[in-house]
Assembly symmetry: D2
Homo-oligomer: 338 residues x 4
């Protein structure tokens, strides 16, 4: 880290900082500038022990140098991680597509959707059984019955099941039905849940929280990797900004930025990322062009009657059109869809 | 809700919308404007069943009218809720002050801090035993040993213990030691946890998530209230914005806005809200001036050596100065500190 | 507009609102709901005269219905506007590409760059002569000398010149050299400047301000259109959010959202939108996939020596690679580059 | 500045960086860490010449050390600047209060308001004659006639006139009537305007742009200071964030943060900062408690009929109550209002 001293910091203050750094087991290098003195600190600065340095007299600011994540880093593993679950392949030049309704509502709904999205080229089926909802008065999902219906849909189509798990105590139950465990945006920093899915060997789709920095997303992934589960997909699904014409702001530069720093594949969710069905196809195409390793998209046979998230849900015809465009764009950037 | 039709929407599209609204059990009123037609919908629009209306042909947008929260609302309960735990009183003209270290580190540290903050006027003691940390490589707290030390500090000082619970399965354990359960910002939408603390009868301090709207904060409170636990304090601790000179942006207008809409008391955390010790005193004073019902502040005998959050932590002398200023400001706005 | 009354609003308060609306020359429709009463107001609500309605007793909130922009709207003109300047064509299925250095530095630099970007497929040349700089201590541009050099580069290549004008009093001067007047992000709400470029008949590239909503961008365009200049290109160049790994956050959903509501073409700036050369190619490709009508990209023969914005500037080889990818992606979405 | 090299950067890359730094006239210090090598650069790094360093092979990132502003800095002038205009005093323990309508509408309106706010303790009168409006269809102000009416109000009350100037060519005209020139938020980076007001010797109230960082605000002030005009007041009026229950988010931590770094006084605008009349009093009180050197507040005899900004405007009784509370809070923090 770099410790920047105040303009008029006394020699005693500098000395105090130097000794404090040494006590942390790190090596300080003092560099006297024309206007400021800085102390460059050598050694592993990660961990909280240095967080109080800013409060020492004469210290103006403390700048970290090392990225705080390790195992997720390209420096630890150079080749890209490819995540597989049945026919779903995400990464390594293959763009996996996970599609399906926001919520599992009935056998007919989920099996019909599964067949339709598979026929259009999807290789994963999404569908919520345990639904985290902003309001306690909203539909909370069919729970285990929903998982059973997802399993039936897999039976009927061969698609890999991607479904959310919202609490550590549900991991075993959901894991009996799911091919991929989804950790939702609201739970990105639910560390107990991250540890629980890290103890499984099921692939995990980890969604970025709407206020999370990309570093925080990678650190959340570290909790899972640290448990020995290396099949982690990162998912960009939009952040909270001042924009109100879309549900969230979907920042696709996340995709190449992450891919340069981590070996984990990056999936994009253009449904939550925009909140409007009309914006899903162009943003799905844009995601593929930006290099996304996967897409997760909400599809329902009749979006106007969906139990949740109808406004951002494609119907089957819309999903088919989206897939056609994405297939051509994938080819244009040297990748393959599905 | 109000359904705004597109400028050129056909009579058939309008008719379709009207029938869809009726099927939801709501009553539509069609109003033909000079440029747009709108459908005003009468009835309880809460719940997800209407979320698909936006996808109907000819619909431009759907505007909700009713606030989505109920039990937290002033319309349900006009008089302010006062939360009490031992000598800590929050609301009703009393500004409760909860102070203490970010993490419990040792018996000496926590008991010494407890004595110092009590002597300066605090009536609650904060201290983390279970620490949710952004990085898996950071100090994770002393866990149950930390709770025991908090209990010793209570024994020594009489202060009410405010400490975070991070998972539903810990609620019973933490509840044996704590006087107030804190739900942290990262867990504001951990619904399983909200339900679990809602089943206790311990007061809850619910922190606003850094990307949460005030409506979402109130809806999170509804999960707790819905369980029958009405002793909920809302806590503003800053939101994520483009500002980087502070750790978060602390929007104090939240305080009077919430107080006009909810009977629940509103606490402010100027430590996390700013991230810098030098900004804590002015923002604590500003919070009291804005009408805050409580403060929660990080204090440590030697911030430079704190295991976490040192940069935003006051030392004991700084906390004493803060209390003096806040006491005068509280009197200026007709309130009483402590 | 829709006026939402408070839950307990008195009949007198409602009556007062109704009469106030009538005095504004608008027609009120009162709808008594189960929990709230709303007043739907018919008539042209644009203009400020209604801004005080919110302060009337018993009024909870006021929701606008009509989009505040008119001339920019698809409702006024259904077919897309195509902007042309020499060989630069933006809109109508053609994706125009404007490339060049942040600042004009010398004859060699600008002519060399112009030739290189033209050979790679660009049809417009960007280059700053009047530079608005955050710091008064930064390079402020070559001013009129820069314009002369741009004209020489046009002479040498036939490219259309796109350059920024920063003040009304410069419009005549810059207009003598430029083929397209650029209004920068900092000046998006410099109304005097918008009016001045609106009085010319030169095409205008209007950049979105980093805190501007899309409605505000369209209203800024209205100032230009209102002057009789209809050759306006809107430019998304990123917004200010909490993200710090990119210079701005580039929200590509702006492209299809705007295209559904306005006939004006939409250009994307992946250089300012990301701030990092390594992110420009993927985001340029993503922009084209999202349907952008144009790109504006910073290119310099030696970015490390650029007088400004070097970090986000492509070198010539990088621009060539970008163009190859974008050409394939454009074809994939049924468009043509250049 | 600190140049952080990539983990695997070659010795040749490091050498290239070192030579590049030397060519910029700066001195590089290479520090080889356990995981990364950094180059600490000594010398005045301000200016754009270093912006291309990031593009050199092997460079991971470049961190600035020096604050980019100079003349505004406490390091250049330690004692606080006090700005005076007639009876208005801002800074040095005096909290100046500027009050009045958003727009000047008529002689009666402005003179009546002036008398009322003076009687309540204001020492400055605000009122817009040239109004920058988001929409070209909104009321644009009375222009010079508005300035004349402001002068009449000054005649009648002795209050200092604070009014906005929106273009360099208006500075002479507005300067003939105004005691303080206001530069609005939309024009914070209108450098030509900043230079023009910098050439006058009238005090300037410089409002923060809604997407501007505090560093950018200080750099905008530098443009004015650089012209020799040292009577600059900085004004926090709220930033754009995801919050929609207030018009902007008003981050009061700006006040003490700025005061620690600049000698210029800091004024807060709780009217624009919140957008709702009901939030103005608590946020004005909070501003004073946070240490603000001044307030600027919208007041109108009949807010429901105001030509602009009615929703955030206090009536006279409301302003009087606000002043009473602020007077007590000012005393509590050792300051004096008015």
């Amino acid at each position: 880290m770099i410790i920047v001293m105040e303009a008029g910091a006394s020699p005693a203050a500098l000395d105090h900082v130097v000794r404090h750094v040494e006590r942390l087991g790190l090596r300080p290098h003092v560099i006297v500038g024309t206007e400021r003195t800085v102390v460059a600190v050598v050694g592993d600065e990660r961990g909280a022990a240095s967080s109080g340095l800013e409060t020492l007299p004469g210290v103006a600011s403390v700048l970290p140098i090392l990225a705080p994540y390790k195992v997720a880093s390209r420096e630890v593993r150079a080749e890209p991680t490819v995540v597989q679950a049945r026919s779903l392949v995400v990464g390594g030049g293959r763009v996996g597509v996970i599609a399906g309704p926001c919520s599992v509502e009935s056998r007919d709904q989920i099996v019909e959707t599964a067949r339709a999205v598979r026929d259009a080229g999807a290789t994963g089926l999404r569908g919520g059984a345990f639904k985290p909802r902003t309001s306690p008065y909203s539909f909370q999902g069919l729970k285990e019955r929903g998982l059973e219906l997802l399993a039936e849909a897999r039976e009927a189509t061969g698609l890999a099941i991607v479904t959310e798990v919202v609490a550590p105590e549900d991991v075993a139950l959901v894991g009996r039905y799911a091919d991929v465990l989804q950790v939702g945006a609201r739970n990105m920093q639910n560390y107990r849940l991250l540890e629980a899915v890290g103890r499984t060997r099921l692939p995990v789709l980890l969604k970025r929280g709407p206020a999370a920095t990309v570093e925080e997303l990678l650190l959340a992934a570290e909790y899972i990797l640290d448990g020995g589960n290396h099949a982690v997909m990162l998912c960009e699904r939009g952040i909270r900004t001042f924009e109100s014409h879309t549900r969230f702001t979907l920042p696709l530069a996340t995709v190449p930025w992450l891919q340069a720093r981590t070996h984990l594949p990056v999936v994009v969710d253009p449904s939550h990322g925009t909140g409007h069905a009309a914006l899903v196809e162009p943003m799905a195409a844009a995601s593929v062009a930006a290099g996304a390793d996967g897409l997760i998209v909400e599809v329902h046979p009749d979006p106007a009657k969906a139990a949740s998230d109808g406004a951002q849900t494609l119907d089957v015809a819309g999903f088919r059109r989206m897939m056609e465009v994405c297939r051509r764009v994938a080819a244009a950037v040297g990748r393959e869809i599905g």
